[in-house]
């Protein structure tokens, strides 16, 4: 992460495999490359290239731990994108509309919390 350009963030998120890798790192903070690679039918080198793209965009932070490299999700770039195009109130209304979409798709009433 050397600049705060959004280009690298959008490029990193444009690939479905990288989005899936980001999900894995987000759900298992501190995982390593092997943990991520286990979920893909591609070479370890291929996985490392994708992870490098995510790290370059600042979406992943890697930290050396002995002979290992631990991976962590960094939410800040996504928050900056959100802040760039969303104001407080539009964010609230958009959030409600997304809630309704999820509720309808799940076949539940948006007024009632999940059982």
């Amino acid at each position: 992460m050397k600049t705060d350009s959004f280009d690298s963030i959008f490029q990193a998120l444009a690939h479905p495999a990288r989005r899936r890798m980001l999900d894995i790192v987000k759900d298992t903070p501190g995982c390593n490359v092997n943990d991520v690679a286990a979920a893909f039918e591609m070479t370890r080198i291929g996985v490392m290239k994708h992870l490098a793209k995510l790290e370059e965009a600042g979406l992943i932070h890697s930290e050396k731990s002995g002979r290992d490299r631990r991976l962590y999700f960094n939410i800040v770039p996504i928050q900056l994108i959100y802040d760039r195009w969303t104001m407080e109130y539009s964010g609230w209304w958009a959030g409600r509309m997304v809630d309704i979409k999820y509720a309808i798709e799940a076949g539940t009433n948006p007024q009632e919390p999940d059982a």
């Binding site: 992460m1 050397k2 600049t3 705060d4 903070p29 501190g30 600042g58 932070h61 930290e63 631990r70 962590y72 999700f73 960094n74 939410i75 800040v76 928050q79 900056l80 802040d83 407080e88």
Partner: protein, 179 residues
């Protein structure tokens, strides 16, 4: 399943490393990036105690002990919210000069899984990074953050009794900083 977890927030700041370092270590005025708390300390050095207090000094939200102090690159300290019973964790700030600015990394380690501290650290990291970036790059707080701080100030009388600063004194003259 691990008993503790780690949170990392990282951001690029277009400013000097000294400016970023000052914002996270200054004691002569409230730190806008740190929820407008003012850092009180008996010494910014290994083993020094820190207390993050409201600008009027009446309430203390966070206490800690300095583990590393390497200006202007790394600052690490233990961290505990005074209103929670959760075990302390370790917070570190890493500053790295890169082309055009500074890469700032905030790491919280040893945070008890599922604790209230974990919930606050998870959301607080991004807030601190974004606010710090705004202060260093634009020289002021974002309007919505400024508003939040004023609301918090108005509601400070509702702060839990456990956070009263008299419960968290500093040894020596650490509390004798100018008001």
């Amino acid at each position: 399943m691990p008993e503790t977890e780690t949170f990392v927030s990282k951001i690029f700041i277009a400013g000097s490393i000294d400016a970023v370092w000052r914002e996270i270590t200054k004691t002569d005025e409230p730190q806008g990036a740190m929820f407008n708390n003012r850092m009180h300390t008996d010494g910014l050095a290994l083993g020094g105690q820190i207390r993050m207090r409201t600008p009027d000094g009446k309430y203390t939200g966070v206490i800690g002990e300095i583990l590393e102090f390497d200006p202007p690159h790394r600052f690490a300290h233990t961290f505990r919210f005074t209103h929670l019973e959760d075990a302390e964790c370790v917070v570190s700030y890493d500053l790295k000069e890169v082309d055009g600015g500074v890469e700032f990394t905030l790491t919280s380690k040893g945070v008890a899984v599922g604790s209230k501290t974990a919930k606050q650290m998870k959301s607080g990291g991004g807030f601190i990074c974004k606010t710090l970036k705004a202060i260093v790059e634009k020289g002021r707080l974002p309007l919505h953050v400024w508003t939040i701080y004023h609301v918090l100030k108005a509601l400070s009388f509702m702060a839990p009794a456990a956070t009263k600063s008299e419960n968290w004194p500093l040894k020596g003259n650490g509390d004798a900083q100018p008001a």
